[in-house]
């Protein structure tokens, strides 16, 4: 032992007992902190991309909005409104400082501040995402547990086929068919409208969430199923049996919890993809979320709104994947976060 370095209790305990091996693994708290730091950096670059998108991409937003033959004064005026009349660095500074004051600009069409629009529309999208996550887990976990414990031969094959099909289904087609069947034929789901208060909004959200489940459930339950099988192979399950651990405690601590981490990480990743498809679902189900607002803004060429909404979408995905990694590392301390 050369230079004395400050050690924590855990570390010295290892050393004293004479069989410490390698560097001490990070504690869950440290891992989460580092992962959050990385998410913040990515979020910054998300802001940069959202900023550059309007300014650096081919096609000038002003000409695109006004058409080629607009009067020079009108062009100048719009340039000023969009803040495009100063040099890019100043623009970025204005944009960046504006963000922290909750200023995302205002709609060119209605003049309503983008943050104001988000206040009413973002909750709808968040509720849709939340409902999807809950519904997917509620279906996938019991399904995977049942299938893993029932040990039906040939099932992995069925699973693989279903996953391959599920991943290739266009969600807008599934949405149309389900909306027709549930909404018009059986009349058990409203075909449009929304109620922003909690239990009432479920009435409008369960069907779009179900559409997401069509893709998510086969993928997730397949992954969970195979990790449960892997877990059941592990020796610690045996030690649990020998300690006489039974029923719920056994299923949670010895079967499900050690298996959940890969599923949670995958779910958070898949939700990132699903966030994109909520745009289409919001249009089909006429939900007043930010996805529908985005498409409207795009067709109206309302750039401040477009920029604000894609920024929110980007941050949302960064947050979802951070959340997934955090939950996974709390559930299973073996998980390494990068």
């Amino acid at each position: 032992m050369t230079a004395p370095t400050p050690t924590t209790d855990a570390e010295s305990a290892l050393k004293e007992s004479g069989h410490g091996d390698g560097p001490r693994p990070q504690s869950t708290g440290e891992k989460i902190l580092r992962r959050t730091g990385r998410a913040i950096i990515v979020a910054f670059w998300v802001m940069v991309v959202a900023f550059m998108l309007i300014r650096l991409s081919p096609g000038d937003p002003v000409t695109a909005a006004l058409g080629g033959d607009a009067a020079p004064e009108t062009v100048e005026a719009l340039r000023k409104t969009l803040g495009l009349d100063v040099d890019p660095l100043t623009q970025f500074w204005q944009y960046f400082t504006g963000l922290f004051q909750g200023d995302l600009g205002a709609s060119l069409i209605s003049g309503i501040p983008v943050t104001e629009m988000l206040r009413t529309n973002l909750p709808v999208t968040l509720w849709l995402i939340l409902t999807t996550v809950v519904m997917t887990l509620v279906i996938s976990i019991p399904l995977a547990m049942f299938i893993a414990l029932a040990r039906i031969p040939g099932l992995p094959y069925v699973f693989r086929t279903l996953t391959a099909i599920g991943l290739a289904l266009p969600s807008f087609l599934v949405a149309l068919i389900l909306l027709y069947q549930f909404g018009l034929v059986w009349g058990i789901a409203p075909i449009f409208g929304y109620d922003p208060t909690f239990p009432a909004n479920m009435q409008y959200l369960w069907l779009p969430a179900l559409v997401n489940c069509v893709v998510l459930v086969p993928v997730l339950s397949r992954v969970l199923y195979s990790s449960i099988l892997d877990t059941l192979d592990e020796e610690f399950v045996e030690t649990g049996v020998i300690r006489g651990v039974r029923s719920f405690r056994f299923f949670w601590f010895y079967v499900l919890r050690p298996s959940l981490a890969p599923t949670v990480v995958l779910l958070s990743y898949m939700m990132g993809v699903m966030v994109g498809s909520t745009v289409i679902l919001e249009i089909i189900f006429a939900l007043p979320g930010i996805g529908r607002e985005l498409v409207t803004a795009v067709t109206m060429r309302d750039y401040p709104v477009v920029q604000g909404i894609i920024l929110v979408f980007g941050i949302l995905v960064v947050f979802l994947s951070l959340l997934g990694d955090i939950v996974a590392s709390i559930l299973d301390p073996r998980v390494k976060l990068t």
Binding site: A13, T239, R243
Partner: protein
């Protein structure tokens, strides 16, 4: 597979394993036999070594002692395991509960995957201490610390709240031993407990098992493929080959006059570090695959001393060739031992 000269009947026999047959029922008619005719005793407060190549069925015999064969879709087809008036071969899940973990402890094979990765050391010890009974948290913690202290873990109060991944391999295995002895069992079954550990740590774990055995008067069943290790720490040993016990005896007896060519071959294949330049001897051929056992002696094909009558008929049974020293070889006279 006859059992006429029953090996090891002795007043201090704690467990008597007789003609044990273990296998997997693959389809209604198709049985895959993994162990047939395991015959040996476990005596009170002894360290018994169970040695053999992988595939010899030693792990399966181990599982039958702790009643976890079913989890591996295997079951006992015949034979008996008599432990304190109970036949462990015929217990159902409910009857197993008071035995498993209470009277027979288990130390898992791998320190890496033995402890539950998502529970703290304390939680796992707590389960072993509580065993579904209601006990005050304070008492459980106190007993947990005591156990950690018994297995020589320093700063038990720190380790108690740590997760297995924060501990070294040796520490983890100490924790597993602590959990195994939580109920003060009669027997501790340790299935290759030092797999994947450093040599120095291996020695420490072995020392610890020895210590616990003498302190608490427990029997230890130590499974290993390492004959040198068995020689060092065990009182008696059982040599297994292709699903049968081929030799049973005390360690000094087996070391001085091995009575089965397989044991001799195992001894010879040990790496001799002390003699530089000594050739590395391996046992020729592979052990016969499970389900493809030849008639007669299953070692015949690999044996240097094979005779005409070796590879015919049934698998030879254990015979007490010398006092308290059994062998399943038909031609022990060729090995220098006196027959009968």
């Amino acid at each position: 597979m006859s059992a006429n000269p029953v090996p090891g009947v002795s007043p201090d026999s704690l467990v008597e394993i007789r003609d044990l047959v273990i296998g997997i029922q693959r389809t209604r008619k198709d049985r895959l036999i993994i162990v047939d005719s395991a015959n040996f005793d476990i005596r009170r407060a002894e360290t018994l070594g169970l040695v053999g190549e992988s595939g010899s069925g030693k792990t399966m015999v181990c599982r039958s002692l702790i009643g976890t064969l079913k989890r591996r879709s295997a079951s006992i087809f015949a034979g008996s395991i008599i432990f304190d008036g109970l036949d462990l071969a015929n217990l159902d899940e409910r009857q197993w509960r008071p035995v498993r973990g209470n009277r027979i402890g288990y130390v898992p094979q791998s320190a890496l995957t033995g402890p539950n990765p998502v529970m703290t050391v304390g939680k796992q010890l707590g389960e072993a201490v509580r065993r579904n009974r209601k006990r005050k948290d304070k008492d459980v913690r106190k007993r947990g610390m005591e156990l950690l202290d018994l297995v020589h873990i320093r700063r038990p109060e720190v380790v108690y709240d740590q997760y297995p991944f924060q501990l070294s391999g040796g520490m983890r295995q100490r924790v597993m031993i602590a959990a195994a002895i939580a109920q003060d069992p009669d027997i501790v079954v340790a299935d290759e407990p030092t797999t994947g550990l450093d040599v120095t740590v291996q020695a420490e774990i072995m020392k610890l098992l020895q210590e616990i055995r003498s302190e608490f008067n427990m029997s230890v069943v130590l499974v290993s493929h390492d004959l040198a290790l068995i020689d060092e720490v065990c009182d008696r040993l059982v040599v297994m080959h292709a699903g049968t016990c081929v030799e049973v005896g005390t360690v000094p007896d087996v070391a001085s006059t091995p009575l089965h060519p397989y044991t001799i071959a195992l001894n010879r294949s040990r790496i001799d570090i002390a003699t530089p330049g000594a050739p590395l001897v391996t046992i020729k051929g592979n052990p016969p695959a499970v389900g493809e056992w030849p008639p007669g002696c299953r070692f015949a094909e690999r044996c240097d001393l094979v005779q005409e009558d070796c590879a015919v008929g049934r698998n030879p049974a254990l015979v007490e060739v010398r006092p308290a020293h059994w062998s399943a070889c038909l031609h022990t006279e060729l090995l220098g031992g006196s027959h009968g």
